[in-house]
């Protein structure tokens, strides 16, 4: 499993400019977009946080989303290029391949988020323990995202269709959540969508966990829903992955 996980982490950094550029975009968005918008959002609209703090913590979830969800695209590419056949010919068990890919995607997410944590820590008063706890929540959420990404990518056989579906789903899940804006700013119909969206629970729990030592309570419900999402998406994604492996990808 270590070798599969290692490949995912290693290949992630071969795209150094891509990773760096994405991080820079998020930083700029926080510094410019969120900073300007924070003047327009009335105090109290996002709880005890300012909008700038709210956005900085939400952008951690967005970054993780892109990095981890995209492991599905890699799995799709492995299948199409024959690399999966190669992996299956190696003395590695099928479950190690599946677990390795999921963990690889999660680590990619965490690695992407790490530089953004520096910015978040500057903007949001927190403790090292709170950061570690929020990383734990994000890691679990990333596992679920990997499962979701694998699930979607393996359900579609045509590359363009898979890419479009992935882009569409990513946008819908992020934009209809509380990652970027608070639920009170949404129309009622979107609030309903946001409440059914796992990204909302991940964003809310990260915000609460990061600042809970300052008086916020532990978001038990939010974390539970993140755990349920990770278990469900991870299980279905792994099941689809193992089904494809056992059926033989070249059939």
């Amino acid at each position: 499993m270590k070798v599969v996980l290692g490949r995912d982490v290693r290949t992630f950094f071969t795209n150094f400019y891509g990773v760096g550029f994405r991080t820079l975009v998020v930083v700029l968005e926080t510094v410019i977009f969120a900073f300007i918008l924070s003047n327009a959002v009335p105090p109290g609209a996002v709880g005890r946080l300012t909008y700038l703090q709210f956005f900085a913590l939400g952008s951690l979830v967005v970054s993780i989303f892109w990095a981890s969800y995209n492991i599905g695209r890699d799995v799709y590419w492995d299948r199409e290029s024959g690399y999966l056949n190669y992996l299956m010919s190696l003395p590695i068990s099928r479950s190690e391949i599946i677990a390795g890919r999921s963990l690889g995607g999660s680590f990619r997410g965490i690695l992407t988020a790490l530089p953004l944590y520096v910015l978040a820590a500057i903007l949001v008063p927190t403790t090292a323990l709170n950061i570690l706890e929020s990383l734990g929540v994000l890691f679990v959420f990333a596992l679920g995202l990997c499962g979701l990404g694998i699930m979607v990518s393996l359900s579609v056989r045509e590359e363009t269709r898979a890419r479009l579906l992935n882009t569409f789903l990513s946008l819908v899940l992020i934009r209809s959540s509380t990652a970027i804006y608070p639920v009170v700013a949404m129309p009622v119909w979107l609030q309903v969508g946001a409440r059914l969206n796992p990204v909302t629970y991940a964003s809310d729990s990260i915000r609460s966990v990061t600042v809970y030592s300052q008086g916020s309570s532990v978001p038990v419900l939010d974390i539970t829903i993140v755990l349920i999402f990770a278990a469900l998406a991870g299980t279905i994604g792994s099941w689809l992955f193992s089904k494809m492996i056992e059926g033989g990808p070249t059939e």
Binding site: V3, G82, S89, T250
Partner: protein
């Protein structure tokens, strides 16, 4: 020893491999010879447990591939027909990944990668990303995986496709030295010279069926005695076909590519060639070239399958 017993694989309605039974001895190079679509790659994929057989069994050293796939995979390695490399990683990192997955000790890994890449004239390209390599270089890296791994059973699927002549010779030598070190080699190829040079024994596959099996020499011995003449004719090939077909001296005629080339099977070329030439000239046909050959594996393949590779 590798044993295939009544191995069958069907894809929906297509029978890719049909009731294949075969034994490959320890330390030999066994060649699977056949055109594209004959079932060679499918057979090898089942051996590596990438594909599940529809029926039948494969055993490697008495271990059933279906029951203990991971144990079997720890004994073997495969170099695929189409190179399978991570295009984002360098040549060296691709080989390191393979060595790590095969649990090669760290010091051995480094030393073997260096030695193999140097042997294949690729040491200077070690830091290049695999995606930037030419087709031939990718193929060499694919083969290099097994040269680094030195598995107990090494499977090569068309190991010298896309390679230039010097590289082909190097790869052949290395496959032979793998065998000398004790590896059992399974080689799928549709190149006669490769099969003849490397294989101790050959299996001829056609449309998923094993048509014949034996050493290259014994397979050639099974052919009807005689010689092979290849003639390039300028002019109407149809009338030449009709005319030569009526000659009792000509046992069989096969039209080749280019379309005005014919392969004739005759008893003795020395006595029959002048008669054939005379007859063609009489018919007003010009002969551009004539080659007299000993029967080759090409002819063996034709004999058993009725097809030309």
């Amino acid at each position: 020893m590798i044993e295939f017993e009544k191995l069958t694989k069907t894809f929906k309605t297509v029978v890719a491999v049909s009731e294949l039974s075969l034994k490959v001895d320890d330390g030999e190079i066994f060649g699977l010879l056949g055109p594209n679509g004959a079932g060679k790659t499918t057979t090898l994929m089942m051996l590596c447990s990438i594909l599940k057989p529809t029926s039948g069994t494969i055993r490697v050293d008495d271990v059933d591939v279906r029951l203990e796939p991971q144990r079997v995979r720890s004994l073997l390695g495969i170099a695929f027909q189409e190179p399978v490399l991570d295009s984002r990683l360098t040549v060296e990192k691709n080989l390191e990944f393979h060595a790590d997955a095969c649990r090669l000790p760290r010091d051995q890994k480094k030393q073997r990668i260096r030695e193999v890449l140097t042997y294949l004239d690729m040491w200077d390209s070690r830091t290049q990303k695999a995606g930037k390599l030419s087709g031939g270089m990718k193929k060499k890296v694919e083969d290099a995986k097994l040269f680094v791994q030195e598995p107990r059973v090494a499977i090569f699927d068309e190991p010298t496709a896309y390679l230039d002549v010097p590289s082909r010779l190097k790869v052949w030598k290395r496959i032979e030295s793998l065998k000398d070190q004790g590896s059992t080699i399974m080689l799928a190829t549709n190149m006669m010279d490769e099969a003849e040079r490397l294989s101790n024994r050959l299996g001829i596959l056609s449309k998923g069926k094993l048509e014949a099996e034996g050493s290259p020499a014994s397979l050639k011995d099974a052919l009807p005695r005689g010689d092979v003449i290849e003639i390039l004719i300028a002019g109407n090939i149809r009338s030449a076909l009709d005319y030569l077909g009526k000659m009792v001296e000509v046992k069989q005629i096969i039209p080749l590519k280019p379309p005005n080339k014919l392969r004739l099977y005759v008893g003795h070329a020395e006595t029959n060639l002048p008669l054939i030439m005379e007859a063609l000239v009489k018919e007003g046909l010009r002969v551009d070239s004539v080659v007299v050959k000993e029967p080759s594996l090409d002819d063996v393949f034709l004999h058993y399958t009725g097809e030309i590779l």
